[in-house]
Every structure is written in structure tokens, then in C-alpha cells.
């Protein structure tokens, strides 16, 4: 075990279970090249090379190094490539990996901001709440720029390429969180009982403490137990194992967020077993944050997992038997153990203790650490000062200094309570016995192992089985014998190190936020006497380690300062995430559904500039962006003078079928439909219960019992839902189907449209006599079954052709082909907006708002007043008795004047009386035309209208009837 290995760093020793000694890998840290082994984490590989300084602390820029080797602390945050805040003790090395430290100015070794630690007394807790506001000029010019530069952990690379992240759902009967002995035991039991189980472990391999802790002198038991558990798991076909996966949150109904690599797993489990273990606790004394001071388990992980000797001369401070196991491991690794400092007045009788004494180690019983002595620049520990623990439980003065380059702290652990508390559990603490308990969990959550107070290996294994048994019972799986409960013989493993308040401080409670003992005490002295308040005032627990190591000492300090027990003080609310989550993981792979019409690719091929309309993409106009205005003008001219074609597939389509169809139409729309003839189309206007316009379209009566109704592109889904909702009450014998996606449609419009389409149609006479305006015909067009409507949104002779979507492109191709000789032009939404404005047709949602009544929009012609009922009728009548102050009107402006924009305000005597809803320059009318709300008493044709431009100036126009173009409708009805 002590034999140094030739490769992978000078501190490399044999016996690392996770590294491959035959596969050296070269990587860079701070620009220097190092050699590690495959399986190394960044931190272990650096430790193997004698590099202990990994990063600088947030506030005082103090050197920081390995603390837990478990990814539980913020000491090891480094930058990998362009990714900041990577945990060096979790991230594996790879050939050529480039790693840098964080939070320093100059170099990691010589940080120009390290002086901040020396002025810490001028930066007390909450200092920023009462400084920097005087003198007035200083904040913006001095402090804010400096804070912006100093704030934040790591630097985001704004030029970084997008990463690939995604998400996956998982469904299990039982989710076991924690890959240690209790979790493995629970998973094996539940899987054997027949449940579908997922076992989630944060380490690359299962086993937890079995992989590194010393449970006995010979260290035979752990390997045997691990082997047995692994064999049990291997035998389970209905078990999914997720290693290197972090469960970051528990949400309602056992919804778990599990991050593994670049993927967020959204796991639902009927039963959840939390076997999250315990989190080793650091001790508080002066300079307790120096590199070289680490948890005993961290040193053991270095030795056992990575084959790295964690130091040359060690002192171990322990509150329980764990320190003796750690001391034996250190000895085996070739480390000199200068002293074993046992907080207990008398040691126990565990076998490891006897072995330690047999190997001649000096044990100081009833002692604690009062101070660590740094090397120059605080870059490493060079010795520890130990002293007798006094009667009042404090480390006394005096004592002796023991030189060392490694201090292992074995204080015992605190339950990893975060997930349990997120799920509604309560953390209790028995101050006398230093025992934690978690209570109050719901019926489908179970605790197992150290998190449940089962601390010995045997107890943890038994507890895992019992938790699994309870879960299996809850699943209703019968015939499983109840496993025996095992009382834990070593209940008191936690014995917090006395908090030694040093007059010169640097006794850190929270390493992430550089908070010292006095900071917490000062916060309480300021009146923040509850932990939730202390947290908010001091930021304790808000850093990357989320209070794992600071919650308990903070509770102890607050308890001490307020004369309460730790149990009474408690810990702050646990919220997800338990550990850091990348924004990319939360975002996942972006799913942004979009809808394309059948002719979508033809538009692209024709050079269309596309725009969105809800989820749809529609051509705005055809041609380069630079020619936008010309293109729109040409498209308009084509429709007015010749013939154009627009894709109107995005219009909503609804089939209303059944004996009650006419009655249904009569109730849902404002107009009258009972007497509508088969083969005719009729305008539809929909109002809501408040009498406001919410949709429009046309209804084509295809048979007595069948209306095919169009709705607006953006409104059809809501219209469809409303129809279902109303008919759920009316119970009319009618079927409503949303067939929007079933039909592709084009509107062929312009004086030449009839001539263009006539040769293509079969069985339909397009002549004005046979197929009058608002007529509906079914037949073949270019061999494609088609519904053709003579309707005119743009005010020219036109035909709207609806065909099955799968044939939409063939329709487009056929009409395009036939249109060549007519100079057919496709036109887009922009041209259509102008064309319809020239006709004074409103667009629901653009020219109407949530309050617009048919009366305001001059559309009472579309209301069948004698109908006994339609949705909105009562409100329309009530609102009709007391008219609003506004009215939607047409207006004209000089064509060569400024062009207002939609939403520009309409003013009268300085008061806002309305706003512009649509506006465009009309080539056909040689004017600027528009629709706007204006004051009702100034809405008669001829009245003046004043519009406030976006530029701030005003433009004056005249109110006119909105039917600007061809008011007699001769063109569309020819």
C-alpha cells in the first residue's frame, strides 16, 4: 500500500480503486501540465501532484483546497474550458483538459486581492447595507463598478457555443436515492420483491462509505459487504442503476429532478426511499479553512479511491471511532500520524482504537483544536494548536502546537436532510445526545441509513431493508417477510467540535461566503435572532454548498447567543436544488413546435420572407428584404389589376355536423343561419358573454346538417374549445370537429382569377351567374377534390379553394403553372393587410380589443336581432342602451405626410380618445388610410382626427367611411 507509483504524480500510492494505473493522462491546471490517471478527479490528480491550492475564497480571496472530496463543498470550484464553477473533486480529468482556478486577480498562487482578508474587520457582516451610499457620487462611479467586477463566482463566457442538453422522463415503483450501503440494501430488497426500482447514486460507483471508510481493522468487512450487495443488485432485472447522478430536488407527488451529465431526468416514483447518508462536518477554529485541513473521509477517499497520499504528517481530530479508522488508513498510506486528538474524555473500545494504540500513536483524550498555523500566505497548514476542552465545553488557551501538513477532521455527520425537508420533513435535534431525527414525512417517503440515524454498517443495511419493505407494502406487493429491525449500538457518533472563538477570527462557519464566528454572533446582536433572519442578513448557507457545513454551526451559535437549544433554533428551509444545476440542464433541448402549411416549402423556394402567426409560419411578402416596400406594392397591384394567390391554409376550419347544426350556429354566432341556403357562405361574427367581438370567419353550408366554418388563424383553438364548452351545456345533437390541419387553402383573387381557374375546374361553372358572390361549390380543381367559396376579403373577384392538406402543394403547383400566362403573383400577409384595409374589413384582435362591441365596429349588420339567443346577445343589448364613448372609424391622411404607426394615440384637446389600429399608404387611393378608435361625438365622416406620432409630433386627418375602395363592391361581385 505504501509503495509509491511511478506514474500519476509524486503522491501517488497503490490501492486506488477508481483509477487505472496503466492509463496516465496529461492535463493542465493554471497553465502547467500535470499527469494524472484515468479515473482521477481534477482534485485527486492535483493532490497526487502536490497541488493543494485549488481556488480562492469569495470575499477574502483566501487559498482553499480539498475539503470533502465528495463534491459537497464550494472550495473546489474551478473553470474547465469555458465552463465556470465546476467541482474539481467530481469532474474527471481527461487528456488535454484545461483547468483554471477562480476568483483571483493576478495568479492563483499570488492573488493581488489577498489583502482583503487582512482588512476583514472593516468588512463586517452586512457591511454593504450601510456603506457606499455616501458621498452620493461614489456609488455609480466607484463602488458599483468595483462590485460588479468582484461579484459573482466564476466568469461566464458569453461567446461560448451552445451546449447540447436534454431531458428524459422516468417512471418507477421505487426510487432509492443514495448509492451507499443503506441505499444498495434497500434497492436490492425492493427489486427482489418484484418492484421496478431505480437506484440513484452521486458517485461514479456504488458503495458509498464501503468504498473508502474503515469499518474494521482488517478492512475485510466492507469489501465483502459491497460485493454481496453488488451481486444482489446485479441479479435484479427490474432495477435501473444511475450512478454519477445527483437528485437535486423533491417535488409534489414524488417527482424527482435528477441531473446526470447534461441530462435532466424527471423521475416519478410511487415510493421514494431517501438513503442520502450523512454529511461530515468541519470544525470551527482559527484558520480552519487552510488547504491541508479536510474531513477524515476526504483523506480516506483520496487514499482508497484515488491512491493519493493526502499528506506527510497528519493530525486527526475526532469525535467518535471514525478518526481511529482514518488514522489507520493514513498509517497504511505511509503518512506519519503525529497525534490523534479525541474530543471524548475517554476513548471507546472499538477494535480500531486498540489497533491505533498498538501502533504507538499518541492519543489526546478530551482535547480539541484551538488554531491551525498557516505557512506564509495561508497556502497550507503547517501545524495545529491543540488544547484541553474545558468544563464549559470550550477549547482552552495554551496547549501545544503540533507540526503537520494535514489535519483530518472526524466530527461525525449531520443527516443529509435536504430532500427529506423539501418533502415536508422536520429536522429535530437532541442537544444532550447530539442526535438528529427527521420526522413528519408523508406515507410514500421512507428514510434509510445514516439520514435516519442508523449509523453503523449493520444498522444501515438493516434499515435499508426495512425501508424497502415498507415501500413494497405500500405498493401492495404481498408475501414479503418483514425484515428485523436492528438497534444501532453506536448512536452517538456526532459530537460537535467546540466552537473556539478566536479574537483574531478566521474561524469560518461558512467557507462559501467567508463568514466567521463573529459574523454570525454579530448578526444575532443586530437583532436577527432567528436562523432565517441570520441567513438573509449574513448570507450564511446561500453559497454553492447550500449550508451543508454551515447550518449546524450557525444553529449552535444562534442557540448559544439566544439561550436556546439547537433543537429549538433549527435550520433554514431546504429548497431545491440540493446542489448546483446548470441553466442548460434546466433548459434542456428546446422544443418549439411550429406549423407549416402544405405550401410552406414552395414559399421558401419563391423567396418569401416568412413571419409567424401563432405557431404558423406565413409568407409576409415575396422577395428580398431590401425590396420589401416594392414587393408589397407589386403584390397589391397584381391583385387589383391582374391576379394574385395567397396561401390561407392557416385559417381555422371547423366542421359543425348533425341535426342540431343550424341551431348551434344560431346560438354560437351573432348572425342568422337557420335559413342559410345550402351552397351559400355567410359571414360569421362571434361575441363573448360580455358582448365583445372575439372571432369572425365564414360559414359554408355544405348540406342541411353540415356547416364548414372558418375561424381566424390565431382564434380557432379558442373558438373550438368554446364551442365544445357551450354544447356541453346545450346538448344539441351536433358534432364539432377542428379540421384546421385537414385543409390547405388558397385565395386566388383579382380580375383575372376566373379566367385562370376556369380551365382547371371540373364540374363547377365559375361564371358569375352559376357561381354568384358568397356561393359555395364542391368539385375538382386540377383533379383535386376541392371546396370553392366565392368570398372576397381583398375586394376583388376571388375564389377561395380548400383542398385536402396532402394535396395542397399539388394545388399550388397546378395554379402556379396555369397562372404563368396570366402573370399570376403569389402575395403575402402584408399585401393582404393593405388590400383588406382598403375595403375596410377589420381583423379581429388587431382592429378590435377585449372590449370592442359590434356597434363600436359598425358591424350591427352582422347581428340577427330577432334571434331569441346567441352568446353575448344580452350584453350587447345592455351595452347598446348606454353606448361607449368611442367608435372605430376610417380615416385618411395626405399621402405625402408622415405615416402613423399602429397603436399611435388619437387625441382631442390634449385628451386621449382612441388609437390607431391599422394604417397603410394606399396606392389605389393615393392616400394614407387607416382605422382608429376616436371619440364617438367626433366619429361622423368629415370630422377631424388628430394622431400623435411615435416621433412626438401630430398629424391631422379626416374621418371617412371605412369602405375606402370600391364601396359598392362591384369588383368582388362581378
Amino acid at each position: 500500500m505504501t509503495g509509491a507509483s511511478a506514474r500519476g504524480g509524486a503522491n501517488r500510492i497503490a490501492g486506488g480503486s477508481q483509477v487505472d494505473y496503466g492509463k496516465p493522462l496529461g492535463f493542465e491546471f493554471e497553465g502547467r501540465r500535470y499527469e494524472g490517471l484515468a479515473g482521477d478527479s481534477i482534485a485527486s490528480a492535483l493532490a497526487a501532484n502536490g497541488v493543494w491550492l485549488l481556488s480562492r475564497s469569495f470575499k477574502y480571496h483566501r487559498p482553499r483546497g480539498v475539503l470533502t472530496m465528495a463534491g459537497h463543498d464550494g472550495n473546489t470550484l474551478v473553470r474547465v474550458g469555458n465552463e465556470p464553477n465546476v467541482r474539481a473533486d467530481r469532474h474527471p480529468i481527461s487528456e488535454g483538459l484545461a483547468v483554471k482556478g477562480q476568483n483571483y486577480r493576478g495568479s492563483l498562487e499570488k492573488d493581488r486581492d489577498a489583502w482583503l482578508g487582512r482588512v476583514s474587520r472593516f468588512l463586517p457582516v452586512g457591511f454593504y447595507y450601510r456603506a457606499f451610499y455616501k458621498p452620493k457620487w461614489a456609488w455609480q462611479r466607484l463602488w458599483e463598478p468595483w462590485f460588479r467586477k468582484s461579484a459573482g463566482l466564476g466568469e461566464a463566457d458569453l461567446a461560448a457555443a451552445h451546449g447540447y442538453f436534454d431531458k428524459a422522463f422516468g417512471h418507477y415503483d421505487v426510487a432509492v436515492i443514495g448509492g451507499g450501503p443503506a441505499g444498495m440494501s434497500a434497492a436490492a430488497f425492493a427489486a427482489k420483491a418484484g418492484a421496478n426500482v431505480v437506484l440513484i447514486g452521486e458517485s461514479p460507483v456504488l458503495g458509498g462509505a464501503l468504498n473508502y471508510a474503515r469499518f474494521d481493522v482488517e478492512r475485510a468487512g466492507a469489501a465483502k459487504t459491497r460485493g454481496e450487495l453488488a451481486a444482489d443488485l446485479e441479479k435484479s432485472p427490474n432495477l435501473t442503476i444511475m450512478t454519477y447522478a445527483a437528485c437535486t430536488g423533491w417535488f409534489a407527488d414524488n417527482w424527482l429532478s435528477v441531473v446526470r451529465g447534461e441530462r435532466l431526468h424527471k423521475i416519478r416514483a410511487r415510493e421514494v426511499i431517501l438513503a442520502t447518508g450523512a454529511v461530515g462536518q468541519p470544525a470551527q477554529f482559527r484558520n480552519n479553512d487552510l488547504p491541508g485541513i479536510m474531513l477524515g473521509s476526504a483523506a480516506q477517499r483520496l487514499i482508497r479511491l484515488y491512491g493519493v497520499r493526502p499528506g506527510r504528517t497528519a493530525v486527526v481530530v475526532t469525535a467518535n471511532d471514525d478518526g481511529y479508522g482514518a488514522a489507520l488508513d493514513l498509517l497504511d498510506a505511509g503518512v506519519t500520524v503525529a497525534a490523534l486528538v479525541d474530543l471524548r474524555p475517554e476513548s471507546g473500545t472499538a477494535p480500531c482504537e486498540d489497533a491505533v494504540r498498538e501502533r504507538g500513536l499518541t492519543v489526546f483524550n478530551g482535547y480539541g483544536v484551538s488554531e491551525a498555523v498557516p505557512v506564509r500566505g495561508n497556502r497550507h497548514v503547517s501545524g495545529v494548536r491543540i488544547a484541553k476542552i474545558g468544563e464549559r465545553g470550550a477549547v482552552g488557551d495554551g496547549g501545544q502546537t503540533i507540526p503537520c501538513d494535514l489535519l483530518c477532521v472526524c466530527n461525525g455527520g449531520m443527516p443529509a436532510y435536504q430532500l427529506a425537508l423539501q418533502a415536508g420533513g422536520r429536522l429535530g435535534y437532541d442537544d444532550g445526545r447530539s442526535v438528529f431525527s427527521i420526522t413528519g414525512l408523508g406515507g410514500h417517503l421512507h428514510l434509510a441509513g445514516a439520514v435516519n440515524g442508523a449509523l453503523s454498517l449493520e444498522a444501515a443495511l438493516a434499515d435499508g431493508r426495512r425501508a424497502a419493505w415498507r415501500a413494497v407494502q405500500a405498493l401492495g406487493i404481498g408475501g414479503v417477510t418483514e425484515p428485523v429491525a436492528l438497534a444501532d449500538p453506536t448512536v452517538q457518533r456526532m459530537r460537535p467540535h467546540p466552537i473556539a472563538t478566536h479574537p483574531r477570527g478566521m474561524d469560518f462557519v461558512d467557507f462559501d461566503e467567508d463568514l466567521q464566528v463573529k459574523d454570525i454572533l454579530n448578526a444575532v446582536a443586530e437583532g436577527y435572532n432567528e436562523v432565517e433572519l441570520v441567513k438573509r442578513f449574513s448570507t450564511v448557507g446561500m453559497g454553492p454548498s447550500q449550508g451543508r457545513h454551515s447550518a449546524l454551526p450557525t444553529a449552535r451559535l444562534v442557540a448559544r447567543a439566544t439561550g436556546r437549544t439547537v433543537g429549538e433554533v433549527g435550520v433554514t428551509t431546504a429548497r431545491p436544488p440540493v446542489s448546483g444545476e446548470k441553466l442548460g440542464v434546466l433548459a434542456g433541448r428546446g422544443f418549439e413546435p411550429e406549423r407549416h402549411t402544405a405550401m410552406h416549402h414552395r414559399h421558401l423556394e419563391a423567396g418569401a420572407q416568412m413571419m409567424t402567426a401563432g405557431l404558423w409560419w406565413r409568407p409576409a411578402f415575396y422577395g428580398p428584404r431590401a425590396r420589401r416596400a416594392d414587393a408589397i406594392r407589386e403584390e397589391i397591384a397584381a391583385v387589383r389589376e391582374n391576379v394574385g394567390m395567397i396561401d390561407v391554409s392557416t385559417l381555422g376550419g371547423l366542421d359543425i355536423r348533425g341535426p342540431g347544426a343550424a341551431e348551434f350556429m344560431n346560438r354560437i354566432y351573432t348572425f342568422a343561419y337557420v335559413k342559410q341556403q345550402v351552397g351559400r357562405a355567410r359571414y360569421v361574427l362571434m361575441t363573448n358573454e360580455a358582448g365583445a367581438i372575439i372571432d369572425d370567419g365564414i360559414a359554408c353550408r355544405l348540406s342541411e346538417d353540415h356547416y364548414y366554418v372558418t375561424a381566424t388563424t390565431g382564434g380557432v383553438d379558442r373558438v373550438y374549445l368554446m364551442m365544445l364548452w357551450w354544447n356541453a351545456q346545450w346538448r344539441l345533437d351536433v358534432d364539432i370537429t377542428n379540421v384546421t390541419a385537414a385543409y390547405a387553402a388558397v385565395n386566388v383573387a383579382g380580375p383575372q382569377s376566373r379566367a385562370l381557374l376556369a380551365p382547371l375546374t371540373e364540374g363547377i361553372d365559375l361564371s358569375g351567374e352559376a357561381f354568384p358572390y358568397m356561393g359555395v361549390r364542391e368539385g375538382l380543381l386540377a383533379g383535386i377534390p376541392a371546396r370553392i367559396f366565392r368570398v372576397g376579403f381583398v375586394g376583388e373577384l376571388g375564389f377561395e379553394v380548400h383542398v385536402p392538406t396532402s394535396m395542397g402543394e399539388a394545388l399550388w403547383d397546378a395554379v402556379t403553372g396555369a397562372g404563368t400566362e396570366f402573370g399570376l403573383r403569389p402575395f403575402g400577409v402584408e399585401a393582404q393587410r393593405v388590400l383588406r384595409l382598403e375595403k375596410g374589413h377589420i381583423i379581429v384582435g388587431q382592429d378590435t380589443d377585449a372590449m370592442t362591441t359590434p356597434e363600436e365596429a359598425d358591424m350591427t349588420w352582422a347581428i340577427a336581432k330577432r334571434k331569441p339567443f346567441f352568446v353575448g346577445k344580452r350584453s350587447i343589448e345592455m351595452r347598446g342602451r348606454r353606448l361607449s364613448k368611442r367608435k372605430l372609424v376610417g380615416f385618411t391622411l395626405d399621402a405625402d405626410g408622415p405615416l402613423p404607426e399602429e397603436s399611435n394615440l388619437v387625441l382631442r384637446r390634449g385628451e386621449i380618445v382612441g388609437f390607431v389600429t391599422s394604417v397603410a399608404r394606399s396606392a389605389a387611393l393615393a392616400k394614407t388610410i387607416g382605422l382608429a378608435y376616436t371619440a364617438r361625438d367626433a366619429s361622423e365622416p368629415g370630422a377631424a382626427i388628430r394622431i400623435r406620432l411615435s416621433s412626438g409630433g401630430d398629424v391631422n386627418g379626416v374621418v371617412v367611411a371605412p369602405h375606402f375602395y370600391d364601396p359598392e363592391n362591384k369588383r368582388q361581385e362581378m
Binding site: 406549423r595 358534432d735 390541419a741 385536402p804 396532402s806 399539388a810
Partner: protein
């Protein structure tokens, strides 16, 4: 056979052509029969394959009397959210008490779907018989095949579609990749398979999304021939 020369075209024929599809006539429509290597595609189909069947016949019936009328026509109807195979290879998927989707057989023959279309049009209007729904137009039709199909769906859909939880011929009317979809498990002669029916206007969106989700399993597009081979 050039799909762009046909009256009826798949909603995604361009994307299939870009992926190297060779189109051939199946019944009277142009279908991607293979992508150059039918043998390899059979292996892909067993692992994780995606085929577009959008041009093949299908129809729906819904509304009062639909189920009763279909039963009278000899269609064997399953429970709601279940599917039942028909003797001619068609599959009747019951989406609601009175809502049924009929997918024609892979051979593309009009078969039951065609017969029901005609029967409905000719039936007496006195008895309620539901109303036809143009499912061939409202929905694109994909089929996802292979042992890893459920793993792929786990990335796109919140419903547990794993074979042990989602029995053959079960239906999920749900959201896949954030858009509405109907998922019907219908194994092809022992190979795990799911019909995926999505709003036809979103087909162009779905195809790359599905292929992206499949890439980690080295899944990909397979032609009609590979599906037929699975059945043999």
C-alpha cells in the same frame, strides 16, 4: 417515383428525399420504400427505426352513434384508449366512447378504411352513425420501431411508454415534444412499435426532433420495405 409529381404528397417528403429516400408506389401512393440499404434498415428497425406512413389510408369516425355503427360494420372495437387489429391488417384505435381512428394496413390497400368510407356515405341518414374525420389529412403518421423506442420516447413524452408499463395496443393521447400527439403501441410481429400521429402541420417540425432524439441510440429512418420485413 417522384413524390413531387403526385397529387398526394407526404407532409415530409422533402426531408425524406434529403435523407436519401427512394420512393416507390405502394398501392396508389408514393412511399419511401428504402434509403439505399434495406438490410441495414431492417437492423435499424429492430433497434430504433422511424418510418413515415403519412400517405397511407386512414380515417376517423366520431360523434353520436359512431361506435355502434362501426360495430355493425364488423369492426372489432376495443375499450377506450385501446386498439384492436382487424382481419385485413387495419388497426382500430378507440380514442373515445364514440371516437375511433382506423389505420389502414401497411400494404396501403384501401381495405377496411375504404370500405367504411363508402359505407358511411351510402348509409341511411336516419340512424346516427357518427361523422367521418379526415385523419389522413389532419394527422401525419409515423411509426417508431425497435427495442429502444421507449427509451427514445422517454426524452419526448411524459407518459411511461415502456413495454412493461404500456401494453401492446394501448393508446396515449398526450403531448410529445410539446405538441399534441396520439401514441398507439402496435408491435410488428414481436418488434416493439408505436404509431405516432401528430398534427399534419407539425410533421415538418417533428421529423428532425424525432431523429435528434433517436441519434443517441443510432436510430434512424427506415423504409417501408424494412417494416414489411419485420412482419415476415
Amino acid at each position: 417515383m417522384d413524390p413531387a409529381g403526385q397529387t398526394r404528397r407526404s407532409f415530409v417528403y422533402r426531408r425524406l428525399a434529403e435523407a436519401g429516400a427512394v420512393f416507390g408506389a405502394v398501392a396508389d401512393v408514393a412511399l419511401a420504400v428504402h434509403y439505399g440499404d434495406p438490410d441495414a434498415e431492417l437492423e435499424t428497425a429492430r433497434r430504433l427505426g422511424l418510418a413515415d406512413l403519412s400517405v397511407l389510408p386512414r380515417v376517423g369516425f366520431k360523434g353520436a352513434g359512431a361506435a355502434k355503427w362501426l360495430a355493425a360494420q364488423g369492426v372489432s372495437l376495443p375499450e377506450v384508449n385501446g386498439a384492436a387489429a382487424q382481419p385485413d391488417g387495419a388497426l382500430a384505435a378507440r380514442l373515445g366512447p364514440d371516437e375511433v381512428l382506423l389505420l389502414g394496413g401497411l400494404d396501403g390497400a384501401a381495405g377496411l378504411v375504404g370500405r367504411l368510407d363508402e359505407a358511411w356515405a351510402e348509409a341511411s341518414t336516419v340512424e346516427p352513425r357518427g361523422y367521418p374525420v379526415p385523419r389522413r389529412e389532419t394527422h401525419a403518421w409515423f411509426v417508431v420501431t425497435g427495442a429502444q423506442a421507449a427509451d427514445m420516447f422517454a426524452k419526448l413524452c411524459a407518459v411511461d411508454l415502456r413495454p412493461q408499463s404500456f401494453a401492446n395496443h394501448r393508446i396515449a393521447q398526450t403531448s410529445v415534444a410539446r405538441a399534441n400527439a396520439i401514441v398507439i403501441r402496435a408491435d410488428l410481429a414481436g418488434t416493439l412499435a408505436y404509431h405516432l400521429l401528430v398534427d399534419s402541420a407539425t410533421a415538418d417540425y417533428y421529423l428532425p426532433v424525432l431523429l435528434d432524439a433517436m441519434s443517441e441510440f443510432t436510430g434512424g429512418l427506415v423504409g417501408h420495405q424494412a417494416l414489411q420485413a419485420l412482419l415476415q
